[in-house]
């Protein structure tokens, strides 16, 4: 459910503007204060105070509030979230943090191993380019691609799944056969063909191509949820009260499917990062001059036996990002989906 309650609370901006002062004018009875119970209480305490006195807590908590509490208590997920935010901030402010520009050359330090001297924390390559700076800029690209893929494929997958599950019949059949078709294709091969021919090494194009192949999982999940939600009483009630299909889908059913959608979104994000890195490594993904972590690894590959840092650090960055996302996804699954709680270590 959404965080805001269906009925506007008294005193909230949504409350109907009735001239209460005029209503009570001239009567001896004092005007009830906002938030006070509608009936006469032999006490001058407000409802909140009353509740406190009686030991009952009246504070309304939505499903989301509970989920948030569960997630905040998940230490591993919270820790991962903090680390991930830190890494992403490094990427966002790469221009300020990095001591060198992405393709800046330090001729005094060619092939330098990782050192604090000259701020080459991740070492330099044979042209004297600082790999710490390059990795920071690579994080920025990775994050951009990952979020674009996650957002696009989630929206696309949710829409297709929702329409298929809600309408059923031939629409469902058509959409799901199409989904099966996409699933039968060897995904990496199709991606390679697509990004080799249509990608042009551009990060946004690569992200689009990835998104068009990553929506299938979410579509199947959302369809499954919609098939079961469709039979629920509240959907029937919404139909009986004359709500249109679009309103039922977006206002009633999608909010109730958000949990699995969000969890699947983290899976897609992690998958997109790994796939983009592999594509760029093979030379069919993002191409220079755009910095990408996968491309950095493939550039370092030729000298990796002696200059191991060129391969190790960009890779470790990918591992750290993906691991954080997976831990966060695990925490979200536990928080949002208590009924399907996986037995967690």
């Amino acid at each position: 459910m959404t965080e805001t309650s269906r009925h506007p609370e008294p005193g909230s901006p949504d409350a109907p503007a009735v001239d209460l002062d005029g209503l009570y004018a001239g009567s001896a009875q004092p005007r009830p204060q906002p938030g006070s119970p509608p009936f006469e209480v032999a006490s001058d305490l407000t409802a909140d105070e009353l509740a406190y006195e009686s030991g009952l807590e009246l504070k309304a908590r939505s499903q989301w509030a509970y989920a948030r509490r569960r997630f905040f208590r998940h230490r591993l997920a919270m820790g991962s979230l903090i680390v991930l935010i830190g890494i992403l901030l490094c990427g966002v402010f790469a221009g300020r943090i990095a001591s060198y520009p992405f393709d800046g050359i330090d001729l005094n330090n060619l092939n330098a191993p990782p050192t604090l001297k000259g701020h080459h924390y991740f070492g330099t390559d044979q042209l004297g380019r600082d790999y710490f700076s390059r990795v920071l800029y690579g994080i920025r690209t990775t994050a951009r691609v990952a979020f674009l893929v996650a957002a696009l494929s989630t929206v696309l997958g949710s829409l297709i799944g929702a329409v298929a599950g809600y309408f059923g019949g031939w629409i469902d059949n058509l959409l799901m056969r199409f989904t099966d078709l996409v699933l039968t294709l060897p995904i990496l091969a199709v991606l390679l063909v697509a990004s080799a021919r249509l990608g042009n090494g551009n990060q946004y194009r690569v992200a689009l191509i990835l998104a068009f192949l990553f929506w299938t999982g979410i579509a199947r999940v959302v369809r499954g949820i919609f098939l079961s939600l469709r039979e629920k009483e509240y959907v029937e009630a919404a139909k009986a009260s004359g709500s249109g299909d679009l309103r039922i889908i977006f206002r009633h059913m999608l909010p109730n499917s958000m949990g699995p959608i969000i969890v699947n979104m983290t899976l897609v994000t992690a998958g997109a990062i790994l796939t983009e890195a592999a594509l760029s490594f093979l030379g069919f993904g993002i191409k220079p001059p755009t910095p990408a972590l996968g491309k950095l690894i493939s550039e370092g590959e030729t000298q990796m036996q002696t200059q191991w840092w060129l391969v190790v650090f960009p890779g470790l960055t990918i591992v750290a990002i993906v691991m954080c996302i997976n831990f966060i996804g695990d925490g979200l699954r536990d928080a949002l989906d208590p009924t399907q709680r996986r037995i967690r270590a």
């Binding site: 060897p186 990496l188 890195a277 093979l282 590959e301 191991w308 391969v311 037995i343």
Partner: protein
């Protein structure tokens, strides 16, 4: 049962036709296999037109697709556009290399993942369980190509420093053509690292899967009954719990095995193995539409076949499931 198999196979035919047409259209309209040749100034224009004509490159896509279907059925997927090499023999010899790789990887994966998963489940929340969980999260986060490179760095440096050759990191082509035991050892030394690279991510995923499935079974009522009637723990775990917990994993493994035929691209690229994946990458680089198509048909057929096999295995292992 037989009708089920036949019907499933019939269902997959339209899927293969549609997907082959989509991919053929996509590949053949976006690639020009003669791109590199055209750029060379000393190539005879007439020769280029000759190749174009022989391969129907100037015809509309639908017509070209028709020619391709004919070639696929009557001429074993035809020949490459440049060089006129027959495709099928090449593909089959590549398939042999890939098969060695994925069968070895699958055996390693299943043995390790089942052992880890079962032990984690019966010793839930133990040190072993926590370690296995952490490692599996690590395994799922490591990019396959990076793992391959790291293993190469380690073993090459071990060789350079101490002169100990544990595993080879290079191409399979330089296997010593000796005979008998020596050849076998050489072969294994060459294949171990690619197999590990390929298997790590599946071991991580499968061990988690096995653990969850085992825990679910262990908490079931019939296990409590088995314990209550006094069976020894070993028998409860191995005979009652393990066999039932194995069913979901077997289904998953069968499905995944089908996808592995097309899923060794990165590993073969990193280790320079002459398998299916490398064949595909080379074809992609050269714009060889017919090679890409043949490759896709083989891998897609494998996916369809192993999906069907997974359902049959599931029906066989779990008699409650009716296939019809």
């Amino acid at each position: 049962m037989l009708t089920y198999v036949v019907r499933r196979l019939l269902y997959s035919i339209p899927v293969l036709i549609v997907s082959s047409f989509l991919i053929f259209t996509f590949v053949s309209t976006t690639t020009d296999p003669l791109e590199a040749v055209r750029m060379q100034p000393n190539v005879n224009q007439a020769a280029i037109r000759q190749v174009e004509k022989e391969n129907h490159l100037t015809d509309p896509v639908v017509v070209r697709y028709g020619y391709w279907v004919r070639d696929a059925f009557t001429r074993q997927f035809g020949k490459t556009i440049l060089g006129d090499r027959p495709i099928l023999p090449d593909l089959m010899s590549r398939l042999k290399v890939t098969m060695q790789l994925i069968i070895a990887a699958e055996i390693l994966t299943l043995l390790l993942a089942i052992a880890i998963g079962v032990y984690s489940a019966i010793r839930q929340y133990s040190v072993f369980d926590y370690t296995a969980t952490t490692l599996s999260f690590l395994g799922l986060a490591i990019p396959v190509f990076w793992l391959g490179l790291i293993l190469q760095i380690i073993f090459v440096n071990v060789y350079n420093k101490w002169g100990i050759r544990i595993f080879y990191t290079g191409a399979l082509d330089n296997v010593d053509p000796g005979t008998g035991f020596h050849f076998l050892v050489q072969r294994v030394q060459h294949l171990v690292l690619p197999v590990i690279t390929l298997a790590v991510i599946s071991i991580a995923g499968y061990s988690r899967f096995m653990r969850a499935s085992m825990l679910e079974v262990i908490n079931a009522d019939y296990i409590r009954t088995a314990r209550a009637k006094g069976l020894i723990e070993r028998r409860v775990i191995l005979k009652h719990a393990f066999r039932n917990a194995l069913i979901p994993l077997m289904t998953l493994a069968a499905i995944d095995f089908g996808t592995l035929f097309g899923g060794t691209v990165i590993t073969e690229f990193v280790y320079g193995l002459p398998g299916m994946g490398r064949y595909f990458l080379d074809a992609l680089g050269g714009g060889e539409t017919y090679v890409i198509m043949a490759w896709l048909m083989v891998t897609a057929t494998m996916v369809v076949f192993f999906n069907l096999l997974a359902d049959l295995v599931l029906g066989f292992l779990d008699p409650r499931i009716r296939l019809d």
